[in-house]
């Protein structure tokens, strides 16, 4: 674990990107940050600009209009950066797999570090995934 990763895992800044989702995942992400689940006590904050983000939470099956945007946003992220595919659509395009307006699955567009399945994933699952991601980043030694 390098110096940057060490600092990063102490307080993760999350950017939320909806690439054609049905809003359910987006609601649950916001729900994680509000008083009931309150992820902010662990230093996890939703940021408004991709340039401040450590983790990209991507919801929805990427459609043709959003694919170039996803690539652009990933390029703009300061590295090291991590990507979470959120929900069934983010992980595998879900039932929109065969639509005329759906493009490639997310993990073929940008590298994905963690998947959260579920339609939508419960807030508990999101918290669990972030904990696992932090574990994964810390386990990487010497990189």
């Amino acid at each position: 674990m390098g110096f940057k990763e060490k600092i990063l895992t102490k307080s993760i800044y999350v950017f939320h990107l909806s690439s054609g989702s049905c809003n359910n995942c987006d609601i649950e992400i916001l729900d994680c940050l509000t008083p009931r689940f309150d992820l902010e006590r662990f230093g996890i904050v939703l940021v408004g600009s991709i340039k401040h983000a450590d983790v990209l939470l991507c919801t929805g099956s990427a459609n043709r209009l959003t694919i170039p945007r996803i690539k652009k946003l990933y390029e703009q992220m300061p590295k090291p950066a991590f990507v979470i595919a959120y929900g069934a659509c983010g992980s595998s395009r879900g039932l929109f797999k065969d639509s005329y307006n759906t493009g490639e699955p997310l993990d073929e567009i940008i590298p994905v570090d963690a998947y959260i399945p579920g339609c939508p994933p419960k807030p508990e699952a999101t918290i669990g995934a972030l904990v696992k991601l932090i574990g994964k980043i810390r386990a990487k030694k010497g990189k």
């Binding site: 690439s19 099956s61 459609n63 945007r69 307006n101 939508p120």
Partner: protein, 396 residues
């Protein structure tokens, strides 16, 4: 003529969770023209539905929008029932009404929170979302999931409300109403919010009719339409409730309509639970004959419209879906033009836009110089609230 500066907002910005792109053409601080590009959420659901069976199509329409995941299935099953002439058992109608109203409360609460967030009033955001949780818990208890309920099917509902659920729902609902009272007081009596929201983004009744606006957007302008009363479905014609209307048509009126509607929803749920009849919850229809059917339902944002055409096979020939935001959204031409930039965000948010329903939204035109970024726009909006707050402090 000198080109007017253009403010691009989006497609990804911290205001809304969903991608959309607004182009505000400004003259000084005044918005003189608006355009919108949607499509970032277009997933081609109408085409997918044509390749699925009638039973499966209900799961698809549920995933049109996470907030309306009870309204879309209700409208869809009603269209299929209208097509095939299927009778629905009474208990199922009661259960449909209950889920529909629970969804309305959760959606209005969600909007109220987000509206507070846009104004830089994050207390409302946090409170609103906290107080929404009992409703999510009820949903989880009754349907098995916090969102995407999978509750409705052609001819009835999938899950029953058990006896022990009833008392749980009532206690949690009471808990919610107590908190709503506090929030209502905090929002409706706040002088800052009054000054900030009153008289901006006015949609006149004539414009509402011209654009066929729907739901709270129309009702706040005095256009008295409500699908639940006008095209009764479920058991809305058997319970007592009122349609909430306001006359002014500004953003504040829209907030008032939504807050008061939550009380009406709670009233409907109480009456339904009280009268819940015994009996089957599913009429188990076997075949869908050729024909066409229309189903409408009142989603939290307005009327949801489904048209289904069948040729007697297992899947629909055509499934047309119209979400309420589709009709409400073009009204931004009436409401935003002439307002200041710092008010634009809350006006655009006031119709409670739901892009995934509308399934659509522009590409940032790089040739136009960016004057404001989205965060700055939010900052402008929040600074205005702070200025007003300061003014009030000085008066007192």
């Amino acid at each position: 003529m000198k080109a007017k500066p253009v403010i691009p907002i989006g497609p990804y910005h911290p205001l809304q969770e969903e991608p959309e792109f607004w182009k505000l053409v400004v003259d000084g601080e005044t918005v003189v023209d608006v355009d919108v590009r949607i499509g970032y959420n277009h997933r081609g659901i109408e085409k997918i539905s044509e390749s699925k069976s009638f039973d499966q199509s209900i799961f698809i329409v549920e995933r049109i929008c996470g907030i309306c995941s009870s309204s879309h299935p209700i409208a869809c099953v009603q269209a299929i029932e209208d097509l095939a002439g299927i009778e629905v058992p009474e208990r199922a109608l009661y259960i449909r009404t209950i889920t529909q109203e629970l969804e309305r409360i959760h959606s209005h609460m969600l909007w109220l929170g987000l509206a507070g967030h846009f104004l830089g009033y994050n207390t409302v955001f946090m409170w609103g979302w906290k107080y929404r949780e009992p409703i999510c818990d009820i949903m989880e208890m009754v349907t098995g999931n916090r969102q995407n309920y999978a509750m409705h099917k052609v001819g009835g509902v999938r899950r029953d409300i058990e006896k022990e659920h009833v008392s749980y729902i009532l206690t949690r609902l009471d808990e919610f109403l107590k908190q709503l009272d506090i929030l209502k007081g905090a929002v409706l009596d706040d002088p800052v919010l009054h000054t900030r929201l009153e008289g901006i983004g006015i949609l006149t009744k004539e414009a509402a009719i011209e654009y066929s606006a729907l739901g709270p957007t129309a009702r706040a302008s005095g256009y008295d339409i409500d699908v639940r009363r006008d095209h009764p479905y479920g058991v809305y014609d058997k319970v007592k409730w009122n349609v909430i209307t306001q006359e002014k048509g500004d953003v504040f009126a829209k907030a008032v309509v939504r807050i008061l509607e939550m009380y009406e929803s709670a009233r409907i749920i109480r009456q339904c639970l009280d009268r819940l009849p015994d009996g089957p919850i599913d009429s188990k229809p076997k075949e869908i004959p050729p024909g066409e059917g229309i189903g409408v339902a009142e989603a939290p944002r307005g009327e949801v419209f489904h048209y289904v055409k069948s040729d007697g096979t297992n899947s629909p020939v055509r499934h047309k879906i119209r979400a309420p935001t589709y009709m409400n959204f073009p009204t931004f031409r009436e409401t935003v033009i002439g307002e200041t930039v710092s008010d634009a965000t809350i006006i655009l948010a006031a119709i409670d836009p739901c892009y995934c329903c509308t399934e659509r939204m522009i590409v940032v035109d790089d040739s136009n110089k960016e004057l404001f970024r989205a965060q700055e726009l939010v900052r402008l909006s929040q600074e205005k609230t702070a200025r007003i707050r300061e003014r009030f402090r000085m008066k007192q």
